[in-house]
């Protein structure tokens, strides 16, 4: 790495790391409100107490449930879609890829308005089911694109061979396809869950404030000016994505990035 590259790399590192560092300092630093003479503790203590109160426990529970269902549901939908598309004619595949990309590239707030209209029609607006449906849209899009990449390196001959060896369609799924893709599907579930985990715009628009997830509560802390608790909630919100990226990176290393 030459001198210029090192400088650019250092600047990039600072740009990326600085907000994270500020977040950690704010979350773990002392809480010292006027007119107290000494600090009244730190943000984590307040956060833990608030958790004990139940509000954030419920929000975390809702976020975990939504993320789990979105990850699993999105992966099921994406697996079916990506598998079919990977074997489709090139023209159809391009159209479908563009379709999968649409909810990914659309601004979440714009997507949310469209989904909200649908949710109202289906009488699921303001409910967990409505928010789950809304989260599934971008999650399925992301996971479909991910799995299309996986299927582009997939050895279809294995399924053909299994069939001529006597395996029915269900047996091909259970004994060949799913075991072969196990690691990639776990990553897909994780990806779908992460899309849901950080989702704010869709949750607010479709949930109408009735569905309280961690990002929604984080926003509430910010609005009320309690940036200490907001920082701790943000830190908590950041842990699963960081862990997820580590797991995904480890998976890619262990398989060399192939199926």
């Amino acid at each position: 790495m030459d001198r210029t590259s090192r400088v650019v790399f250092a600047v990039l590192l600072i740009v990326v790391a600085a907000p994270a560092l500020a977040l950690v300092i704010r979350a773990l630093g002392p809480v010292w409100f006027f007119p107290n003479i000494v600090p009244s503790g730190n943000a984590v203590q307040r956060f833990t107490e608030d958790f004990g109160g139940g509000r954030l426990w419920r929000a975390a529970g809702t976020s975990v449930a939504l993320a789990t269902l979105t990850g699993a549901g999105g992966t099921v939908l994406a697996l079916i879609a990506a598998r079919s598309l990977a074997r489709a004619r090139r023209g159809l595949r391009h159209v479908a890829e563009a379709g999968a990309l649409l909810p990914v590239v659309m601004p979440p707030i714009a997507l949310g308005v469209g989904v909200h209209v649908l949710a109202l029609q289906l009488h699921v607006s303001g409910s967990l089911v409505g928010v789950l449906g809304a989260h599934l849209i971008p999650a399925a899009g992301y996971v479909t694109l991910y799995l299309l990449g996986v299927f582009s390196a997939y050895e279809w001959a294995l399924e053909d061979e299994a069939r001529t060896l006597g395996a029915g369609r269900v047996q091909v799924w259970t004994r060949v396809t799913l075991p072969l893709l196990r690691a990639r599907l776990a990553e897909a579930v994780l990806l779908g869950a992460l899309v849901s985990w950080g989702q704010l715009a869709l949750t607010l628009v479709v949930g109408g404030g009735a569905v309280r997830t961690l990002p929604v509560e984080l926003l509430a802390f910010l609005r009320s000016g309690d940036d200490h608790l907001a920082a701790v909630a943000a830190l908590l919100l950041s842990i699963p994505p960081a862990a997820g990226v580590a797991v995904l990176a480890r998976g890619m290393r262990s398989t060399g990035g192939v199926v």
Binding site: D160, E161, R163, T164, A167, P179, R182
Partner: protein, 359 residues
């Protein structure tokens, strides 16, 4: 069982969006091994996939042991299809791969493993039974794939370019061991697809030459090489000599190399023959040739040396007998029994011209 083990009748096979092969019919007798021989892209693999049920026929029927399987899914046909590159399940060990067809048919795991081990013994792979298949060499993968195919006890075995992916030094060994295994198995019909003439004639009881649009010839290896049905077949087989001439209808054929006996009606014909039918030796004063023949090239191969000779405006290839330097005048001796006459290409045909261009 009487009647053909495998029968394809009036089958039309699609390649992508077009009909690649139309009205294709073939039958494989009980315990017969045939080779589908043809150039790349002619549809050999599509025929195999259609027989296996991995591709749908646009028209026609497939019958296996007399049973119409055209509408049946691949898993119910009793056909095993082996890909060019052995497709072993990477998440299973060697023995698990071989036990796969047994287990999915409901054989208990311990029994399936025992039978799989016995099958691995037959292919001399038992000592690697617990290995991951990803750690095997090309030849070992091939043997495991074959053991797994035989464990499925198929009525019909389809081999798609089975030795093409192997290194040349391994190919002959794997081919011989494969043939030995197939001979000792109870497979009713075996179809091998290949574009390699030597491979087709080595493995098959009968060779079907598949050229554009259909089967150009069906014959035993010896017959095929000695008597190609058409000039196109001869050229595909790599028979190097094709001499145009006139059959007079009175039992003679006149060509630039002289006149030879040839029964049949009068008309333009082409004499085709292999290099080993033509002996080339240095010309002597006693030789009385109708045309000046000179060596224009000598090629040394593992199977022997061949020389190319320019004679009467054409190029022929034969086996040199003695020193035949390039540019030297030579005498040609054609073994008439090995010469076969075929029709010249029709004007509408777009095949290569008769004879070989000068180099």
């Amino acid at each position: 069982m009487t009647g053909p083990a495998l029968e394809l009748r009036d089958a039309t096979v699609r390649f992508g969006s077009r009909d690649g092969l139309r009205d294709l019919s073939l039958a494989v007798d009980q315990e017969e091994r045939i080779a589908l021989l043809g150039p790349s892209g002619v549809g050999k693999t599509s025929v195999l996939r259609a027989i296996a049920g991995l591709e749908v026929l646009t028209a026609g029927t497939v019958r296996i042991q007399g049973r119409d399987v055209t509408g049946l899914p691949a898993e119910q046909r009793g056909v095993v299809y082996l890909h060019q590159v052995p497709s072993l399940f990477p998440h299973l060990s060697v023995v698990e791969n071989v036990a796969f067809p047994l287990e999915i048919r409901g054989t208990a795991r311990t029994s399936a493993r025992r039978q799989a081990l016995a099958m691995l013994e037959r292919v001399r792979m038992a000592e690697l039974a617990t290995r991951r298949v990803t750690s095997l060499s090309g030849g070992q993968r091939h043997r495991v794939a074959l053991a797994r195919a035989l464990a499925a006890d198929p009525a019909v075995l389809l081999l798609d370019e089975p030795f093409a992916a192997l290194d040349p030094e391994l190919r002959a060994d794997v081919r011989e061991s494969t043939l030995g295994l197939l001979s000792s198995s109870r497979i009713a019909a075996t179809v091998v697809v290949t574009h390699d003439v030597d491979e087709a004639t080595a493995v098959a009881d009968r060779v079907l030459v598949l050229l554009a649009g259909g089967i150009a010839q069906s014959a035993g290896p010896r017959e095929l090489l000695a008597r190609p049905a058409t000039l196109a077949v001869a050229q595909f087989l790599g028979i190097p000599n094709a001499l145009p001439g006139q059959r007079d209808g009175r039992g003679r054929f006149a060509s630039p190399l002289g006149t030879i006996p040839a029964a049949g009606p009068a008309g333009q014909m082409v004499a085709v023959f292999r290099s080993d039918a033509l002996r080339i030796r240095p010309a002597t004063a006693s030789d009385q040739q109708t045309a000046d023949a000179r060596v224009i090239g000598v090629r040394h191969r593992i199977s022997g040396t061949v020389a190319r000779v320019s004679v009467a405006g054409l190029t022929v290839e034969g086996i040199p007998d003695g020193a035949c330097p390039v540019g030297g005048s030579v005498a040609l001796e054609l073994r008439v029994a090995d010469v076969h006459l075929v029709e010249p290409p029709q004007r509408a045909e777009s095949g290569p011209p008769v004879g070989r261009p000068r180099v």
